[in-house]
Symmetry: C2
Subunit: 151 residues, 2 copies
Amino acid sequence: MNAVDTAVKLLQAKKIRPSLTRIHILAYLLSHPIHPTVDQIYQALLPQIPTLSKTTVYNTLDLLLENKLVKLVGVEQREKHYDANTKDHGHFFCRICEKIYDFSTPAAEIEAPEIKGFQIEVKNVSYSGVCSDCRHKNKHKEDEYEKFEGN
Amino acid sequence: MNAVDTAVKLLQAKKIRPSLTRIHILAYLLSHPIHPTVDQIYQALLPQIPTLSKTTVYNTLDLLLENKLVKLVGVEQREKHYDANTKDHGHFFCRICEKIYDFSTPAAEIEAPEIKGFQIEVKNVSYSGVCSDCRHKNKHKEDEYEKFEGN
DNA sequence: TTTTATTTTGTAATGATTACAAATTTGAAA
DNA sequence: TTTCAAATTTGTAATCATTACAAAATAAAA
Ligand SMILES: [Mn+2]
Ligand SMILES: [Mn+2]
Ligand SMILES: [Zn+2]
Ligand SMILES: [Zn+2]
């Protein structure tokens, strides 16, 4: 099943009228699991929907959030990032390439607050640092630098 | 040892000149583990340092962050929250009373990205929902909410 | 069709944070 | 002590993602 059909079904299941704009935005998130920002979504859809307004992207994402069809990615960035993968998982933000990676959070997680009688509604596990690719690229640079210094 | 003395020692250990303002800000964070915002710190110290500028609070917190004397609380709020407790621990944000609670994150945590060769520099585990106090205070309303939401 | 509700849009306002340069304070050299 | 450069602090303006809001467009209902 393609992303558009999935989006329509998800919207209908939540009794949200599947307007063209809503389908496009949700389908984009489903087919581009890169945790995009509002502006990334807006820029990506503009060619297909030339009348699209950024306000509509904000409004639609709020609606999808309320209906738990998308989640906010809890990385510390100026712009908010969105995720149509609503399963429990963690995120790793690479400060070099600025990509956001998914990782699984084992079921046997930290339930400390729940034990204390807290009602957990949103969980956020996010790390940041340098991803594998960027570490490798950086190591290469360091090697070159060392060679240069040795001359 | 009081918070001021601790602050001075921490600053000196990092070779940061312990100016009055820096001591005050760090000591405030150490003695008020409520994860305050810039404005909360500013308002709290204004009576003692009438010439204090909010820019200085921003500057000082940036300096303390760089030197790992404080950490950012990874809670999704409009304003950033700061914590002088630099030990690994999680945070719970109550959407009713807006208090931020600490909880311990067991050592055997999710190390998935590290296995993949990622260099983890910052960890953030934060949950949100309704705290124990607020659940009890609003028992009736909460029951209605749970019924309605189907949780 | 006419009316009403929903969705989308454009523009203005918000507000936490940042940029930046001037003012002040500090510490050490002369 | 006086001088002076560096460090620190301050005030103001700019930034910019997000929100507020009302009008416009579109879809559904009557
Ligand atoms: Mn994800
Ligand atoms: Mn804490
Ligand atoms: Zn990277
Ligand atoms: Zn509470």
